[in-house]
Symmetry: C2
Subunit: 256 residues, 2 copies
């Protein structure tokens, strides 16, 4: 045993990477944690990438909040799996985080107990729009994986627990619905399983915090309900992420 | 004007990155170009990434052929947009290629003139499974873009020209079909638009060479037809890529 390893605070989580897809979801947290935007000339990302990074010290933690940024052509947040995977990858390589938090909004299934403004931790992630009907490739496409288990977070912070299914569409086709049911998912987003895929590649523990903006199996159109609820649900998400970050402070990965 | 810029051969394409998704498609080219596999200890990719790289000198060109490699859990080729985007990104950063060739197999639409074993260059790429029915986000999701125009390749090498639509499923749902029609696509693959997205991000010219393994609007099941034709169509693909690489030798980007 090395003395350092036994010292108080040794092994405590130091560097937390928060990955979020939408600026509207992220800016309240940027303000709450007093993060500052990394200037372009000091970017950890290569020229050309639209990805953005805010960083700072919050209590004992180095916090980095990254986003895929605005699409160069269309100017909207670069949502979806490809951008989320890329910015997660580049951030892991540059920042070597101890822990990733993927925070965002999600659709929820009332048949599985979800309501608008609920905040979920994802116990599992999978894709619902990667159908490859060839043996073994089919399972690769679904890409189901358990997330990092954080029983103490779950017990102390009052989040709901559910499975998350990810796809690149905001709406849900009948084929998507069938796959989401097969994935046993309570919540549906556009990034989680891609972030999990990259985090697992580099053995970085990742926690998925998703706040419900719209009820997928309800009677309101998803896009309309999503936009109507985005601001208020973002507030619930930000409260949840703040509680989570406060809980993480001073703890080790094995304490979560 | 600098003397170097006017010297014979100045500005000639030097470094070509070939991105392929499946080992079965790539190995004949690895052999043809006498490429060798980069050993793990010298990898340009970080530990944990399943991506593989073969490299060598062929005539005047530095060739790198990269693949997303075998999935760590399932052992199959890591097909699809997320892996293709990641390995393209990491390869561009490490290798700074002058030109990217994304080569692979594709489904073809006979209604648009495609037959099995046809080899296409993609004039345009777009996604067909990223439906986001919110203004502007809808266009971001589709992500249609023109590819690098290579009129001399097209004139001299006898490829067909068509639009390419990309999605993460091998099959085609009714929603996919509608989007593919809307994308005016002649061919359908699982990586092209993601490779194009990353290549454009870093202003790297990219050429998409796709050989047709199966007729999507025909009467045979896609997975069966794909597997039955994979070997013979791969041979046609490899002939086409060899012709293309031979054509590129000694040329400038503006000569293509």
């Amino acid at each position: 045993e090395q003395p350092d390893a036994a010292a108080p605070g040794a092994g405590a989580i130091s560097r937390v990477l928060i990955v979020m897809a939408m600026e509207k979801e992220a800016m309240p947290l940027v303000n709450k944690f007093k993060l500052v935007e990394a200037p372009a000339r000091e970017s950890i990302f290569p020229k050309g990438a639209p990805w953005t990074r805010f960083y700072g010290i919050y209590k004992d933690l180095h916090l980095d909040l990254v986003m895929p940024g605005k699409d160069a052509v269309f100017g909207v947040d670069s949502v979806g799996t490809v951008s989320a995977a890329l910015v997660t990858y580049a951030s892991i390589q540059a920042l070597k985080p101890d822990l990733i938090i993927n925070a965002g909004t999600a659709g929820g299934f009332k048949a599985k107990g979800a309501s608008v403004k609920d905040v979920f931790l994802a116990s599992d992630v999978a894709f619902h729009d990667r159908r490859i009907p060839i043996p073994v490739f089919d399972m690769y496409g679904i890409g189901a994986r358990k997330t990092f288990a954080a029983p103490n977070i779950l017990n102390e912070l009052n989040f709901k627990l559910g499975k998350l299914s990810t796809g690149d569409s905001l709406d849900m086709s009948p084929q998507d619905e069938e796959a989401i049911l097969s994935n046993d998912a309570t919540i549906k987003d556009m990034e989680g399983a891609a972030v999990a895929y990259v985090a697992d590649m580099f053995s970085t523990p990742a926690i998925f915090v998703k706040a419900v903006t719209d009820i997928v199996d309800g009677d309101k159109p998803t896009a309309e309900e999503f936009l109507n609820n985005l601001i208020s649900v973002t507030a619930a998400l930000d409260v949840a992420v703040t509680k989570l970050v406060d809980f993480i402070c001073g703890k080790r990965i094995s304490d979560l």
